[in-house]
Amino acid sequence: MRADIPAEPGTPAELVQLLTPEGERVHHPDYDLTLADDEYRSLFRDLVLVRRVDVEATALQRQGELGLWASLLGQEAAQVGSGRALQPDDFCFPTYREHGVAFTRGVDPLQLLALFRGVSNGGWDPHEHNFALYTIVIGNQCLHAVGYAMGVQRDQADTAVIAYFGDGASSQGDVNESFIWAAVFDAPVVFFCQNNQWAISEPLEKQTRIPLYRRAAGFGFPGVRVDGNDVLAVLAVTRAHLQRAREGGGPSLIEAFTYRMGAHTTSDDPTRYRLASDLEAWKLKDPVERLRSFLWRQQLADQAFFDGVDAEAEALAVRLRDGCRSLPDPTPEQIFDQVYAEPHPLVAQERAELTAYLASFEEGHR
C-alpha cells in the first residue's frame, strides 16, 4: 500500500464536514448551509426511505425475485445530499448504484427493481425525471454528462449537470476524457465521485496514489473532498458547485469520501478481500444515525416523527415487495420493438419469424 494515500479521509482542511459522526454541527469556512427545520427532517426521511428501499431490494434478491442488486448501504448521505442539491431542471447521469439519487428525482424505486429483476434494461423516462438511465459500462456516462452540458450551453439554459461515478471509474479513459472536455468547453457539469473505497475487491490504492479530488487540479478546475457520510456537507458542497456551474463557472469535481458498507452486489463476497474491523469502524460514521443524533440533540424531531418515518418506510417496503412480484414479464416481441426508431426490414422479419414460431407451439404444431 502506498504511504501517501491517507487511510483517514484527510486533514480537516481537506475534508468538508458540517456534521460530526456524533451528530454535532460544525462550521466550515467555505461551505455553509442554513436549512429550515422541516428541511432537516425531510432529509432524514429520505435517508431512511432510501435505506429501506435498499434493504428490501437486497431481501428480494435473496428470495429470488431480483437477479442482482447493487446495494448503496453507507452511501445514503452522499446520494441524498447531492440529489437534493439539484434543481428540477438539472440533469443527472447515474451509475448503477444511485438508488438514493433516483429517489430524490422522483423515480419510483419499483422501476429500479424492474431493472434488476430483468424485466427491463431501462426502467424510467430520463426526460420525465431529468435522470438518465443507469449506466453499467464504467465511465461511459461522464462523457454523456459533458455532452448534455454542452447542449445546455447552446440553449443558454440556467441548468447544471451532474455526473456520478465511483473511485474505480476514475481510472477509465472516458472519465478522464470527460474532465478534459468539460475543462476545454467550460461545461456546466459537476463530477460527483462517490469514493466508497472499493471497486469490487480492489481497494482505492489500485486506482490512485493520491486523493482523488486532487485529480481535478491537473485538468484545471477545482476539486473538493467532502465527508460523504455527512448529508449536510454533501448538500452544501454540491449546491455550491452546481450553482457555480449554472453561473458559468465551469466544471468541478466533488469527491464524496464514504464507504461501501455492503457487498459490491449481491453476487459478491467481501469477506474474501476485506477486514470485518474496517466495516465496524465505518459503522460509527453511519450517515443515517448521524442525522438522527443531530435531530435529537437539536430537538428538531420527536419520537412521533421517527415512528412516522419508520412506518412510512415499512409501507414503502410492502409496496415494493408486492409490486416487484407482480411486475409483468415483457413479451418476447419486445425484443424487437424499439431496436430502431424507424422501420428496419431485418428486425421486422425476425420479429415475424419469432411470432410465427411461438404461434406454432400454441397451435399445438409441436
Binding site: N121, G122, N140, L143, H144, M150, G151, D155, Y340
Partner: protein, 326 residues
C-alpha cells in the same frame, strides 16, 4: 439546379443544407472547424454557421462520440467526423455500448439521431491505420445503421437523409472517391429512400454486388467484360445495415450468379452475410456458388502493396470467370 462537383464537395453541400434545415444539427470532430477537416468536407461550415454549431473537439474519439450521445439526449443532432477509419476504434465502446443500445433500452424514450462520418477504405497511398474498412463491425451491431454513398449525387442526398434519420447512422465515405466528379441535382428532395440499394448498371449474366469505393471498380469491370461478351449487372448496395436483400435476390433470380466485392477482409466481411442469405433465398436459382472478392486475412499492407490487396478490375473479372465456369 445541377452542379458538377466532387464527392467531397457534395458532402459539404449536403451538410450545409442539413445545418440550414435544422438548427439542432451540429458538426463536430477533430479539425472540422477552421481547417474544414483533413479532406475539407466541412470546409466553410464553421464560418457560415458559427463555432457553436461547427466545432473542433479535443483529440479523443471516445470523447467525440460520448459527448455526441449527451448532446443527442439534450435534443441535438450531432454529426461527428472521425478523421480516418483506423481512428474510430477508441470510440468503439461508446458506439456499440451506448449509441447502438440507447433507443432500445430506453424503450424509445431516448432516440439517438447521431451520424458518425468515417472516411474509409484504401487506395490513396496512405500510411498505416488510414485505409481500414471497418463496416462489418458496425453492420454486425444491432441498433446501428450503416450506409455508404458511391457517387456525388448519393453523397449529397444520403448525408442529409442520415442526419434526418431518427436512428444512429454510421456514414462511411469512400475516401479514394472523394475527388471524383459528377453532376448533382441539388433541387427538390431526395430521389429515393436512404436504406435501399440501386442497380448501377443492369445486366443479364452475372450480378456484382458492391458498395462505396468498389462501385467504380465493378462498373469498370463490367465495361471490360462487355468487350468479352459478358453482360454484368452491378448493384450498388448503398445501405449495408439494413441490407437491401430484395434487390440482390431479385437480380440473382435473373442472373443466377453472384459475386460480392468489397475492400474489407473476406472473412466475416459483408460478402459472408450476403452469400449466406442468397444461398438461402435463392438456393435453386443459383447456378454457381456465390463468390467473394475482397481484402485478405492480413492487416492492411504498406501502401506499395495496396494494389495487390485491393480488389481491382482483374480480380473481379477472375471471379466472374469462375462463376461463369460453373
Amino acid at each position: 439546379m445541377s452542379e458538377t462537383v466532387t464527392l467531397a464537395k457534395a458532402l459539404t453541400l449536403g451538410l450545409r443544407r442539413a445545418l440550414e434545415d435544422d438548427p439542432k444539427v451540429l458538426v463536430m470532430g477533430e479539425d472540422v472547424g477552421k481547417l474544414g477537416g483533413v479532406f475539407r468536407v466541412t470546409d466553410g461550415l464553421q464560418k457560415e454557421f458559427g463555432e457553436s454549431r461547427v466545432f473542433d473537439t479535443p483529440l479523443a474519439e471516445s470523447g467525440i462520440v460520448g459527448t455526441a450521445v449527451g448532446l443527442a439526449m439534450r435534443g441535438y443532432r450531432p454529426v461527428v467526423e472521425i478523421q480516418f477509419d483506423g481512428f474510430v476504434f477508441p470510440a468503439f465502446d461508446q458506439i456499440v455500448s451506448q449509441v447502438a443500445k440507447m433507443h432500445a433500452r430506453s424503450r424509445g424514450d431516448v432516440p439517438m439521431p447521431v451520424v458518425i462520418r468515417i472516411p474509409y477504405g484504401g487506395g490513396i497511398g496512405a500510411v498505416e491505420h488510414h485505409s481500414e474498412s471497418p463496416e462489418a463491425y458496425f453492420a454486425h451491431t444491432p441498433g446501428l445503421r450503416v450506409v455508404t454513398p458511391s457517387t456525388p449525387a448519393d453523397a449529397y442526398w444520403m448525408i442529409q437523409q442520415a442526419v434526418r434519420c431518427a436512428d444512429p447512422v454510421v456514414f462511411l465515405e469512400p475516401k479514394r472517391r472523394y475527388w471524383e466528379k459528377a453532376p448533382v441535382d441539388t433541387g427538390g428532395s431526395a430521389p429515393g429512400p436512404l436504406f435501399a440499394g440501386r442497380v448501377a448498371r443492369p445486366g443479364r449474366d452475372v450480378t456484382l454486388a458492391c458498395y462505396g469505393p468498389m462501385v467504380r471498380t465493378c462498373l469498370d469491370a463490367a465495361a471490360a467484360a462487355q468487350q468479352e461478351g459478358h453482360d454484368l449487372e452491378v448493384l450498388d448496395l448503398r445501405s449495408l445495415s439494413p441490407l437491401d436483400l430484395d434487390l440482390v435476390t431479385e437480380s440473382v433470380e435473373r442472373t443466377h450468379r453472384l459475386v460480392v466485392v468489397h475492400e474489407a477482409p473476406v472473412f466475416l466481411g459483408l460478402g459472408a452475410e450476403i452469400a449466406a442469405r442468397v444461398q438461402e433465398c435463392c438456393f435453386y436459382a443459383l447456378e454457381a456458388p456465390v463468390l467473394r472478392v475482397g481484402g485478405y486475412h492480413a492487416p492492411y499492407p504498406p501502401s506499395r502493396l495496396e494494389e495487390h490487396f485491393l480488389p481491382d478490375l482483374d480480380r473481379v473479372l477472375d471471379a466472374v470467370d469462375r462463376v461463369l465456369a460453373h
